[in-house]
Amino acid sequence: MEHTHETYRLEDIDQTHAIGAALFVPFTIVRLCGETSAIDTTLTVELRNFGDFSPPQRTLHLSWSSASIPTQPLGVSDRVITEWAACGIACVVMTLYPGLTVRAVAAEGDRFDYWVDDGQYDYGLEVSGTLGADLDTRHRAKVRQLCDNPYGVDGYVVVVSFASRRVVLSFHRCQEESR
């Protein structure tokens, strides 16, 4: 399968998005490099429902500064580390592929995590991370959740497997998918 290669510096998510995304950086690094002092890694990103986005399988080379590697424990549960690490990855792929800004944190009850926008319209973004390798089951559940949003807006799902270094980014027309 054809792969296209992108590169991105993780710390840049803070300038690209409006939500204070710098907070995600240490969590993402911990999940990507564990106990090592690595300053880069490679992820496979699969784009779904992106029309003429070609090829749908991408290779993402992600790097960060050694100064960003946390030197103290993050003080939260493993589940929180994984979820926030996935949010860091979501900020990267939303910039690189659809080119959208993560604009705001959604409310509890919105059924997705963030609002993203193209300057004219707001859409939903649901993010999830896992230490396992089965992304498809997780992805299906997250699509259902996104499409249950009370506003009837369309949106995006990002799921990340830190075990397989695989990311799925997909777009969903919720009116159609919830029928």
């Binding site: 204070g20 992106f50 029309g51 549960s77 959208l100 604009r103 919720c174």
Partner: protein
């Protein structure tokens, strides 16, 4: 490469001050999530109250700009912030304000109504437990 187009909520006409407020409330919500994950509930509640007040301001500005759907989003978020901060009375009031709008979309109306009823039930349970513990 072009993006797929879909149904979104209009944000046409929002200015730099509005965007700054959106960013500020998002910072506060992320900080509150982190503080809660670190078992610092009181500090998280302080952030949530600040975020709730910004959401109410954003809601009013959306109504003024004619962005009614977006106004409802900020209203529901304000209710959620007040509830998470522990101010059920304020949260239920914000939900009732939303329900008073005849053009609130049916799906959102259902969600807001259910949320307000849950808050009323939880408040009653909480008060009952408070009285029982104080009476022991």
């Amino acid at each position: 490469m072009s993006n797929p187009t879909g149904r979104g909520l209009s944000r046409q006409g929002v200015d730099a001050a509005f965007v700054a407020d959106e960013a500020q409330k998002s910072h506060l919500l992320l900080e509150a999530q982190l503080l809660r994950a670190q078992q610092q509930a009181e500090a998280a509640a302080d952030k949530l109250v600040e975020a709730a007040m910004i959401e109410e301001r954003l809601r009013e500005r959306c109504f003024t700009m004619g962005l009614r759907e977006k106004a409802f989003v900020h209203g529901f978020s304000a209710a959620s912030c007040w509830a998470q901060a522990g101010d059920f009375h304020h949260a239920i009031g914000v939900c009732q304000d939303l329900l008073a709008h005849s053009d609130l979309p049916p799906r959102l109306r259902h969600r807001v109504d259910a949320y307000a009823k849950t808050l009323c039930t939880r408040r009653a349970q909480w008060y009952e437990e408070l009285v029982v513990h104080e009476g022991e």
